[in-house]
């Protein structure tokens, strides 16, 4: 009998509370803090160079094999990143590539609306991934 009485008063109180659901075009809520969108390649704030050195750990950690890295060696014998391909058609946004990176060169942005009729537009290159920095600020749903 006690749970029935408790649920009765909980239901009665809920009538005066604000509903949890959102009517989409009229109301918007801010993107949750822990949500994961497209990964981006970070830049060094002083020299504006890519932090990634193309070690390939993220490529190995990726469970969907959507990351492909090409690296080159300069005249000093240092390994550098030449090209960074990411196929968002198969990406599951698990965040393993970000976790595994030693240099903190990758970061998940808050960009989530990715529907596109063209498959090729979801295959991102190095410059595309650098440009995703605009989406690293939290925004409202449905903007």
């Amino acid at each position: 009998m006690r749970p029935v009485v408790r649920d009765f008063f909980t239901g009665f109180g809920n009538i005066f509370r604000k509903p949890r659901t959102v009517v989409y075009p009229k109301e918007k809520i801010i993107v949750p803090e822990t949500s994961r969108g497209i990964p981006r390649l970070k830049l060094d704030p002083d020299s504006l160079e890519i932090l990634c050195n193309g070690c390939g750990k993220c490529e190995m950690a990726c469970s969907e094999n959507c990351i492909e890295i090409k690296r080159e060696t300069d005249e000093k014998g240092q390994e550098l990143l030449e090209e960074f391909y990411m196929d968002l058609n198969s990406c599951i946004f698990c965040g393993n590539c970000v976790d595994v990176c030693d240099r903190n060169a990758l970061e998940m942005t808050y960009r989530y609306m990715l529907a596109d009729p063209d498959r090729a537009s979801l295959k991102l290159e190095k410059m595309d991934l650098i440009k995703q920095a605009d989406y690293s600020i939290r925004d409202f749903w449905g903007k």
């Binding site: 749970p3 029935v4 009485v5 408790r6 649920d7 009765f8 909980t10 239901g11 009665f12 809920n14 009538i15 509370r17 509903p19 949890r20 659901t21 009517v23």
Partner: protein, 311 residues
């Protein structure tokens, strides 16, 4: 003749507005108690929802069953014997309580037959179980009504309301009110107005009763629930008696909707009653024994007071 026509129109209006308001309340309150928004697609915050629901049923083609035609008429006939105020009653009888209860029994029977109509044997086997479930709830209602009739010594509903000008019957029969209300609540759960239920929506009617027939069955379910609530308000809560300066008709409506509101919230707090085990634990172990005890106590008081003049 014109007066009767006027009364018929009034009763139709009351029933129709009540139907719209109650189906809106069922949708909205059951959603808001779960922190949802309810139906918002129609205009004016979901006020058009009942009309949308009716047009949804009418949109599908459906061949009517004979039981559904009976149901359609009896869900109106049930309101002929029930008074909404001192004058607003279609057929004035000395014992309209008996007629109303009889109409109610017949309406429930038709809705059960309608749910069970089939040429398959196993559905007819379920039918007896359904009858048992629906009418076992009816036993405490009959006991509490009869113990109330012993107190007021009349079968006329208008006279019963008239007797309550000073004290409501809930003071004389608190147990009876609780029993009656619990039975009405169980009836509400079994008719499946909020969610689908196996008692009145069987294997057969799930497939066939999609169009106008489903509308009629829902209509009759609302009718049974309204009947029980109106009878509770008239018998125990003094019907249209005015309270201090508040008008009697407003009091009638207020009491009806408060009861309906409590039933809706209780529905969210309790499990489904499909299983007969639940029904045994609620009905046969709680409602029926207490109603019998209530009846015996009332008889003892009746004899001591009216035959031996002791109290």
């Amino acid at each position: 003749m014109l007066i009767i026509l006027k009364k018929v129109i009034y009763i139709f209006l009351i029933f129709g507005i009540n139907l719209a308001v109650c189906s809106y309340m069922i949708n909205k309150i059951s959603a808001r108690s779960e922190l949802r928004r309810g139906f918002t697609a129609s205009r004016a915050g979901g006020l058009g929802y009942p009309f949308l629901e009716i047009s949804k049923y009418l949109a599908k083609s459906y061949r009517l069953n004979i039981w559904e035609i009976f149901l359609f008429f009896f869900s109106f006939f049930i309101w002929t014997a029930i008074p909404f105020s001192q004058t607003l009653i279609l057929i004035k009888l000395d014992s309209d309580l008996v007629i109303a209860v009889l109409f109610y029994i017949v309406l429930v029977f038709f809705s059960l037959v309608n749910a069970s109509r089939s040429s398959y044997g196993f559905i007819w086997n379920n039918f007896l179980k359904k009858v048992l479930m629906m009418y076992s709830i009816f036993i405490p209602i009959l006991f509490s009504i009869s113990s109330l009739v012993l107190i007021n010594r009349t079968l006329n509903l208008r006279e019963i309301v008239g007797f309550q000008y000073q004290y409501w019957n809930i003071i004389y029969q608190p147990l009876g009110f609780i029993l009656m209300f619990t039975s009405a609540f169980a009836q509400f759960k079994l008719t499946g107005l909020v969610r689908k239920n196996t008692v009145l929506f069987s294997e057969n009617s799930e497939k066939e009763g999609a169009g106008f027939g489903r509308l009629i069955t829902r209509f009759s379910n609302y009718s049974t629930l309204f009947f029980l609530l109106v009878i509770i308000v008239i018998l125990y809560l003094a019907g249209w008696q005015k309270l201090y300066f508040v008008n009697g008709n407003i009091m009638f409506v207020l009491k009806f909707y408060i009861l309906f509101f409590i039933i809706l919230l209780l529905d969210k707090a309790t499990p489904r009653l499909d299983d007969y085990k639940y029904l045994i634990s609620i009905n046969w172990k709680f409602l029926v024994p207490i109603s019998v005890v209530n009846f015996i106590l009332t008889i003892v008081f009746f004899i001591l007071r009216n035959i031996y003049n002791l109290i």
